[in-house]
Amino acid sequence: MVSLSGDLDIDSSIEFSAKVDAVTSAAAVHVIAELSGVQFIDSSGLNSLVVGARETEHRGGSFVVAAPSHYVTLVFDLVRLGESIDIVGSIDEALALHTAVNAQADS
């Protein structure tokens, strides 16, 4: 799980991408991006989430965005991010979603 806080903009998104890359490059992992502390997100931040999700899934992992703030949700809606990434309201939901995906994969 990666907890983020502050502004997820052109500056910090590079750092975030690098971190996700480092976590997912070795094996299939399941990533929960916890965004409750994020107050600002721009297109670069969104892109880093999209790229992170794509890379993780490509390696057989999963990528869930959890607990975005009201403002961040508005931005997600603006670009219809929900169509390409799983977005849930809380970490519990994310874990539940993760368990469900695992069960589906096992069966």
């Binding site: 502004d7 903009d9 052109i10 500056d11 590079i14 600002f40 721009d42 297109s43 670069s44 969104l46 892109n47 403002y71 931005v75 603006l78 670009v79």
Partner: protein
């Protein structure tokens, strides 16, 4: 011009220290004491002489009285002897009345005869038996008469009291002797009468000093009086009778009047008393007159000698005062010349010193200030007793004449010499009689001017005068070189300083600016004050005011270096503390400077300040009508006196309708007033001035009195007004900076009154536009993003421009999403590309 070689006849030290006036006070006191002693002794002698004269006068009076008494005795002794001879004649001894009558007839009263009042013989019963009176004996009995009774009882001659004649007013004295028969038996009494001549005080008696002579007979009658009146003063009469002879001083006279001297002597035969009774004033008149004359002479001598002493003392005091004045004048000249910072001031100092030293004369000092100067070259003072008119042309000609003497003094004592010397030069000293001058010769020997004294009355100059004049001139000449160098340096420093200061103030968003700068007034040193304003591309503006310690060119150069350093650091750093910290590196070794740096962000209204030992800025709130100092918790010691990392900065909240005054200490340092009071005075002046910043600056500078405008003064006034409606800023195209940009612009949008959602949308759109410029325009290479913000009631417009190349973004990329976000959020999101770069125009209707 030749150098001065003639040395003065006496040195100025001799002149200044001449005379030992300290002992003169004692001398004067001693002289007065001696004089007083002599006067007392003289007074004693005079008094003694007076007493002697008095005693002599009284003794003389006494001896005259004795003489008078003796005369009386002798006279009466003779008369009685004559009477006794008659009594012993045979016709009397025989007792024959007829014979006696015949004998007595020869004593008929006649002028010059003896017993001119008649002679008569009385028997033992007191009956008159024989008489010289042709009418014959009277039948009256004389037995009760004193002279009869006395002779019968004593058998001795007797002189009776004076009586007034029965039928005339003749005064008669009767004397009597006993008569005896042949066998010696008492037979009767022979009496003879004398008529006293009428009493008169004639010139003869006065010449003999018998004025005031009274003669008292045995019953105390004053026989010199027609009426034989007895004296008023019966007490005195009884005293005279008792003492017989003597002197009475300071007593009442016979008539009872006071302060008389009475000399008296008794004559035994007639039992008379001769009395010399004179008023003391008559007796002692001569003595008193002598005393008076001597006293007057003595007093006159005393007064003359005292006057001489007083004159000497006064003269000594005047000399002392004069000498003191001379010494203090000399010291004052030395001080004034050392303090003089201009040729003008030096001329004034010398002229003032000459006027003090020679108050009666008109002083004249000529020093050329050089071709570049616009000022005059002549200073003239007018003496107290002088009506001399010296215009510049005359003064210059006199200076020329003095210069021509080749270094020796110009001495023109008479009007004639004055005229003959100056007439060829085409000038005349109107009202002048004597003129003396010396050249001002500097160390190199060149004649730089002249000093002269002109007298309205002919004045014979002394060696002392010339020495002083020369000494004054020499001292001024020595100071001249220093003053000239100083003046030159001052001019250069002022020029340098003014050239280093900003020509005009930049436009600063949200702030109106006014500044005042004045270098120290002419005659003092220019210092190293500066003020400066640097508006960074990102809109943040740094203001600074500083003051380099020291004066002249060096300070001005140091100021220039510091100011350049400030400009560089201001562009490099946002933090005022960082700027102040780095400024310290540029202070010369051993140098010192103070400064304050204030940083203002027009987007956020954040104000930060940092000070290094500088006077505190004043924050003035025109709405609350109050002001406060941005105090020293953010202050460190002056530049050059603190180490690395010592500086700090403090935040102050400002709002529209506030002003901030940054100034140098020249504005608030004044004599006799505390710094606090002065700062408050400046704050109050700005508060009460109008809204115009220029006027506020003038009001603040106006708190300085003219006399206090010696130091440099720098003042920078910031007047904050409403949040600007349009701002253009530039920032480097760096991802790292966008968060701060959002914070600042967000604050501006809030202050402009946008609601949270409109603000957030605008900030996101701005971020996307900037991302575009960084990623697409510059492709992450260095560049600059220009942002223009403008806002009015109806709309908000944000323009973001770069100088890079534009590429159409791929739809499913961050850029694609960026464009999507901008277009979704804003009412308008246009991308305008050109060769020069790309501009994104974001518009939102409100």
């Amino acid at each position: 011009m030749t150098p001065s070689s003639a040395s003065p006849p006496t040195s100025v030290e001799d002149v200044l220290t001449r005379g030992g006036p300290t002992s003169r006070g004692w001398l004067a006191t001693g002289a007065v004491l001696v004089l007083a002693t002599l006067t007392v002794v003289a007074l004693g002698l005079v008094w003694r002489q007076y007493e002697d004269a008095k005693r002599e006068a009284t003794e003389e009076l006494g001896s005259r009285a004795i003489l008078a008494a003796t005369v009386f005795d002798t006279y009466f002794a003779g008369q009685l002897a004559a009477l006794s001879a008659i009594a012993e004649s045979p016709s009397v001894t025989s007792g024959d009345v007829a014979s006696m009558t015949r004998y007595f007839a020869s004593f008929r009263p006649r002028k010059g005869g003896i017993f001119n009042a008649g002679v008569g013989w009385f028997d033992l019963e007191g009956r008159q038996r024989a008489t010289s009176d042709p009418r014959g004996p009277t039948t009256l009995s004389f037995g009760d008469r004193a002279y009869f009774a006395s002779v019968i009882s004593t058998k001795k001659p007797f002189v009776a009291e004076v009586i007034v004649g029965r039928n005339s007013d003749r005064r008669i004295v009767v004397m009597s002797v006993p008569t005896k028969d042949d066998r010696g038996r008492l037979t009767g009494v022979l009496a003879g009468g004398l008529v006293l001549p009428p009493s008169r005080q004639d010139s003869r008696s006065t010449d003999l000093d018998y004025a005031g002579l009274e003669v008292l007979d045995r019953v105390g009658q004053q026989i010199t009086r027609r009426d034989l009146a007895r004296p008023e003063n019966a007490e005195l009469v009884s005293l005279l009778r008792e003492r017989k002879q003597g002197l009475l001083e300071d007593t009442r006279g016979l008539d009872g009047s006071g302060d008389h001297v009475v000399a008296f002597a008794s004559s035994a035969a007639p039992s008379w008393v001769a009395v010399l009774d004179q008023p003391a004033s008559t007796v002692f008149g001569d003595a008193r007159r002598t005393l008076l004359i001597e006293a007057i002479l003595l007093a006159a001598a005393f007064a003359v000698i005292l006057g001489l002493i007083w004159w000497a003392v006064r003269r000594a005091r005047r000399d002392l005062r004069r000498q003191r004045a001379r010494v203090s004048g000399w010291a004052e000249l030395t001080r004034a010349l050392n303090a003089a910072t201009s040729v003008e001031g030096l001329r004034q100092s010398l002229a003032t010193a000459l006027a003090t030293e020679f108050p009666a004369s008109s002083g004249l000092v000529v020093i050329d200030e050089g071709a570049e100067s616009n000022g005059g070259k002549v200073t003239v003072t007018r003496g107290s007793e002088s009506s001399i008119d010296l215009d510049d042309r005359t003064a210059t000609a006199i200076a020329q004449a003095i210069g021509d003497t080749g270094g020796s003094p110009l001495v023109l004592e008479t009007h004639q010499s004055l005229h003959s010397r100056l007439a060829p030069l085409g000038v005349a000293v109107v009202g002048g009689r004597s003129l003396y001058g010396v050249p001002l010769v500097d160390q190199s020997g060149s004649v730089e001017g002249a000093a002269a004294l002109a007298f309205g009355a002919q004045y014979a100059v002394s060696d002392t005068d010339l020495t002083l004049l020369r000494a004054h001139a020499d001292q001024a000449a020595q100071a001249l070189i220093r003053v000239r160098r100083h003046e030159q340096e001052h001019d250069v420093a002022v020029l340098l300083q003014e050239s280093l200061l900003p020509d005009e103030l930049p436009d600063v968003d949200g702030v109106r600016l006014a500044a005042h700068y004045r270098s120290g007034v002419a005659g003092t040193n220019a210092g190293g004050d500066w003020y400066d304003v640097v508006r960074r591309p990102d809109g943040i503006t740094h203001f600074s005011v500083g003051d380099v310690a020291g004066r002249g060119i060096r300070a001005a150069v140091s100021m220039g270096q510091l100011r350049n350093a400030f400009r560089a650091y201001a562009l490099e750093h946002v933090s005022p503390a960082a700027i102040v910290q780095r400024m310290a590196r540029h202070v010369e070794r051993d140098g010192m400077a103070t400064m304050v740096c204030v940083t203002f962000d027009p987007l956020t209204y954040d104000l930060l300040y940092s000070s290094a030992g500088h006077v505190p800025p004043l924050l003035i709130d025109t709405e609350k009508r109050s002001f406060e100092r941005l105090e020293d918790s953010a202050s460190v010691p002056p530049l050059g006196w603190f180490g690395e990392g010592a500086t700090s900065e403090k935040r102050a909240s400002v709002a529209p309708a506030m002003s901030l005054a940054l100034y140098s200490d020249g504005l608030v340092e004044r004599r006799g007033v505390s710094l606090d009071e002065s700062i408050d005075g400046v704050g109050a002046a700005i508060l009460s001035s109008s809204a115009d910043p220029e006027e506020a600056v003038q009001a603040a500078v106006g708190t300085l009195a003219d006399a206090e405008q010696g130091d440099d003064v720098a003042l920078l006034l910031l007047q904050f007004h409403d949040t600007p409606s349009a701002i253009r800023i530039e920032i480097p195209a760096e991802p790292l900076l966008l968060r701060e940009l959002r914070r600042r612009v967000g604050r501006w949008l809030t202050m402009r009154g946008l609601d949270a959602s409109a603000r957030d949308a605008s900030l996101l759109a701005l971020s996307e536009a900037c991302n575009n410029a960084i990623e697409h325009g510059y492709r992450n290479r260095p560049g600059t993003i220009s942002i223009a913000l403008s806002h009015d009631d109806a709309s908000l417009e944000i323009r973001v421009a770069d100088n890079g190349e534009w590429r159409e973004p791929e739809p499913d990329s961050s850029r694609g999403r960026g464009m999507l976000i901008m277009r979704s959020l804003m009412d308008e999101a246009d991308v305008v590309s050109s060769q020069d770069g790309t501009e994104v125009v974001l518009g939102q209707r409100l």
